[in-house]
């Protein structure tokens, strides 16, 4: 399985929804404390015996850390990055690097921690920031379309519902998850999901009322929004804060998570013994993980050890 070494500490990976072998990696210098950032676009070389490593298509430098990246759903060359200086930058891979970035949207007053593209409407994206707000943007407008300000602390992640193009969920350091509908002025649901900060959330792709939340309290809880008082299940197994959680695009009940305990874990929340896989290939905090939508069973992860691993389910990520 190929490995890519980034010069900076990794923060996020994202597979392209257009090309099976393409992914973007968000990295930050000096662990994201203070320094530059870089977003890499990598291609997996197709040789069946991958002695050749992953190749880099291009990379873009930023003045501040890149905390998250996402691909556009309707333009195969458009990449959006969340920057630590509060700006959101758009990059076009078809244009030469001297013409990039094509947009720099600076409205957040603090670090932008996550960005997510709408998979249904395909024309808008959300950014969530440590200034407690979430902003909705479209590519054609220079200013945000809406600002959602209700959280009392940093918003770490906001994720669109995979079936309803107007609904999204946000996870915040104020220990709540909020469900929003862009047509309504205020949030439609507040779920006090954990007693500690919630770092990530994701929707079940096959059951649009199921949400998973990952928190500093080392657990992942799976909720049904129709009955949000009690979680469907609590997934314990990580030894430190869970940084990111994602539902599989191919298997209905499969969840992948990465944590500060340097492992990437697979869960099946419908099963009694939920932990179905564990990969401990990272030697520092595992901070970013993604599952390919186009290729079933393909994972990618990155961490503060400056390595990006791409592997197929069941294989050892470190195997050559």
């Amino acid at each position: 399985m190929p490995i890519f070494k980034t010069p900076f500490n990794g923060y996020a990976v994202k597979f392209s929804p257009f090309y099976e072998n393409r992914l973007a990696v968000a990295t930050a210098q000096n662990f994201g404390i203070l320094g530059n950032g870089r977003v890499h676009v990598l291609d997996l070389t197709p040789t069946p015996t991958p002695t050749a490593p992953i190749s880099e298509v291009c990379a873009f430098d930023t003045a501040d850390a890149v905390y998250d990246c996402t691909w556009s759903e309707d333009n195969d060359n458009l990449l959006v990055t969340a920057i630590g200086d509060g700006s959101v930058k758009l990059w076009d891979l078809a244009l030469p690097p001297t013409s990039n970035p094509i947009r720099s949207l600076h409205e957040h007053s603090r670090e932008v921690h996550s960005v997510d593209w709408n998979p249904v409407r395909k024309d808008s994206f959300l950014t969530s920031s440590w200034d407690d707000t979430i902003k909705l943007w479209t590519v054609d407008r220079p200013a945000s379309v809406r600002t959602f300000k209700e959280h009392a602390y940093c918003v770490y992640s906001s994720v669109w519902n995979p079936r309803h193009g107007d609904v999204f969920a946000s996870a915040s350091g104020d220990c709540t998850v909020r469900i929003w509908d862009v047509r309504d002025p205020a949030s439609t649901m507040i779920i006090p999901a954990h007693d500690f900060e919630i770092l990530s959330c994701d929707w079940n792709k096959y059951d649009d009322c199921i949400i998973a939340t990952a928190s500093v309290d080392k657990s992942i809880k799976v909720w049904d929004v129709r009955n949000f008082r009690i979680p469907i299940t609590v997934l314990n197994g990580h030894n430190y804060a869970v940084r990111r959680v994602k539902f599989s695009p191919h298997r209905e009940s499969l969840i992948v998570s990465c944590s500060y305990d340097m492992t990437v874990c697979l869960w099946d929340y419908r099963v009694e013994d939920a932990l179905v896989g564990r990969y401990d290939h990272h030697t520092e905090f595992a901070v970013g993980v993604d599952m390919s939508v186009l290729v079933e069973g393909l994972f990618a992860s990155t961490g503060w050890d400056e390595l990006v691993y791409v592997w197929q389910h069941g294989n050892d990520p470190r195997a050559p």
Binding site: Q29, I83, V139, T188, H250, V295
Partner: protein, 524 residues
């Protein structure tokens, strides 16, 4: 809440129904109770909204909380977020705020009020600027006004000055009077006294002049000697004390030096301990503790790393980095990068590829029976994959070697057999690379009918069998005629490539649908 049943017509999905009502179909696919969902739908509320009634107990607890004197001093946003954390819904929180008197209820209303205040401030600021701007325009009258204003200012000034001068004069006069009345007579009496004393002294001095002189001289000499002795003693004592002080000072210095040395040695010991502790920590990564949090991250304490249980061992270089930044040093290697867009109005590159269908969308589309649309999608995807310069996986399929990222280990079948395998395609996983996952059977696109005669020949034997079952000669004659007509129509379709209506049914080159038509014809 939003009117989910009246979705705005700007929704440009390919889905024919409301996004909300689609809940029903996916729910069915997942084994959920469809009736419950339809009930929810008929209540005309989105499923993403609180549908629980207001819990009175929670509201009362909230009212007690809000009525507490300490709580009423805190900002509203903190009160709301506390109640939200406790699990109250928005309606319950609003009800509690309504019940507690004189508290500003909602953030949203606070925001408009803030906005109004901002608006008012802005409008007043605008007013100021507006009043200032016409002033230079209207020169004369406003100048007069301004001079009058300044004059009034000066008059003010003058009155103050007059008052001060008056006070000073009064005080001066009063003091003069006082001096005149009180001080002068005293002076006069004192002068008289002195004069009378002098006269007395003159009388005494004349009688006692000589002997007093000698005595006085002797006494003076003695006094001088005594004074000198005293001075000598005092100076001696001073010298002594100085020397003592010097001694004390030196002793003090030596003690300080000793202390400094001890502190240095302690510092070294601490550093050594830290080093050993880091080594110990790096070897014991998985200690599990449940201590409370301490925020000590540099990136001001919003970084999630800061709010963990403090035991999470951060990388050593991370600690050094945070210490460095704490001290204010800039870490090395940071470049000045200009990452602003060179052309903020840069147009996006064109044309973009058509978006690909997601695996979960395929499931719902198949359930919606929009098979024709799905086929057009797959057709697009097939052409897309050929257009791409990157790896065309569907083409690889025929060559026998798949890209490594699609090969799965044999171990996977074991693992997946433990979990209820959702699909039956696990074994054949790596082989088929259709964009559409295996879960849904998509009717493959039939090739266009190239040889209509062959197609007819294939089809003809089939009607013979049911024909034999029916004993009606007329019916037996009918289908054959229909088949011939249909054959002609099929040839026309294949030649023209267009769409024709066959018996008011949507035309398709699907062989199965043609068979369906045949069956329906046979029934007729």
């Amino acid at each position: 809440m939003g009117s989910e049943s009246t979705i705005p017509s700007t929704v440009s999905d390919a889905k024919p129904q409301n996004p909300e009502s689609e809940l029903v179909k996916p729910m069915e696919g997942n084994g959920q109770d469809p009736n419950g969902e339809t009930l929810k739908e008929t209540s005309s509320k989105s499923v993403f909204v609180n549908s629980e009634p207001i819990r009175e107990e929670q509201v009362q607890n909230a009212v007690k909380f809000l009525s507490h004197p300490k709580v009423s001093g805190s900002p509203v946003i903190y009160r709301r977020s506390f109640l939200e954390k406790k699990g109250l819904t928005k309606e319950e929180i609003d009800e509690a705020f309504r019940r507690v008197p004189d508290t500003p209820p909602t953030v949203t209303s606070a925001q408009p009020t803030m906005k109004n205040q901002d608006g008012q401030l802005n409008s007043s600021a605008n007013m100021h600027t507006q009043t200032q701007s016409p002033q230079p325009a209207a020169a004369a009258p406003t100048a007069v006004v301004s001079t009058v204003a300044t004059l009034s200012k000066y008059q003010f000034h003058w009155s103050h000055a007059f008052l001060a001068v008056g006070l000073l004069a009064a005080s001066g006069a009063g003091s003069a009077l006082f001096v005149k009345h009180a001080v002068v007579p005293r002076l006069k009496s004192w002068i008289r006294k002195v004069v009378s004393e002098e006269e007395e002294e003159e009388g005494d001095k004349k009688s006692n002049s000589k002997p007093s002189l000698n005595e006085e001289a002797a006494a003076a000499a003695k006094a001088a000697a005594a004074a000198a002795a005293d001075v000598a003693k005092v100076s001696q004592e001073m010298l002594n004390s100085k020397s003592e002080e010097k001694k004390y000072f030196e002793a003090f210095r030596s003690l300080l030096d000793v202390q400094v040395e001890e502190m240095r040695s302690m510092c070294n010991a601490i550093r050594k301990l830290e080093a050993t502790r880091d080594i110990a920590l790096s070897s014991n990564k998985q200690t599990d503790e449940h201590t409370q949090t301490l925020s000590w991250n540099v990136r001001p304490p919003s970084a999630p790393a800061s709010m963990e249980p403090s035991v999470t061992p951060h990388p050593k270089s991370y600690m050094e980095m945070t210490a460095r930044v704490h001290r204010g040093e800039k870490p090395p290697g940071i470049r000045e990068i200009n990452d602003l867009p060179p052309n903020p109005n840069q147009l996006l590159s064109n044309p973009p590829l058509a978006p690909r269908v997601k695996p979960w969308e395929v499931v719902s589309q198949a359930q919606n029976n929009s098979s024709y649309g799905l086929q057009s999608h797959t057709n697009d995807e097939g052409s897309n994959s050929k257009e791409q310069d990157s790896w065309p996986t569907s083409q690889l399929n025929g060559y026998g070697s798949e890209p490594w990222w699609q090969q799965k280990n044999m171990r996977i079948t074991e693992i997946e057999s433990e979990n209820e395998p959702q699909t039956t395609s696990n074994g054949a996983f790596g082989v088929t690379n259709q964009q559409v996952p295996q879960r849904v059977w998509v009717p493959p696109r039939a090739p266009p009918v190239a040889m209509p005669e062959a197609a007819a020949a294939i089809r003809q034997p089939k009607p013979l069998i049911p024909r034999g079952q029916t004993s009606n000669d007329q019916i037996s004659a009918g289908p054959s005629d229909d088949i011939d007509d249909e054959l002609q129509r099929v040839t026309k379709v294949s030649e023209s490539g267009g769409q024709l209506e066959i018996n008011n049914e949507s035309p398709s080159l699907e062989s199965n649908e043609i068979r369906e038509q045949e069956i329906s014809n046979e029934r007729n």
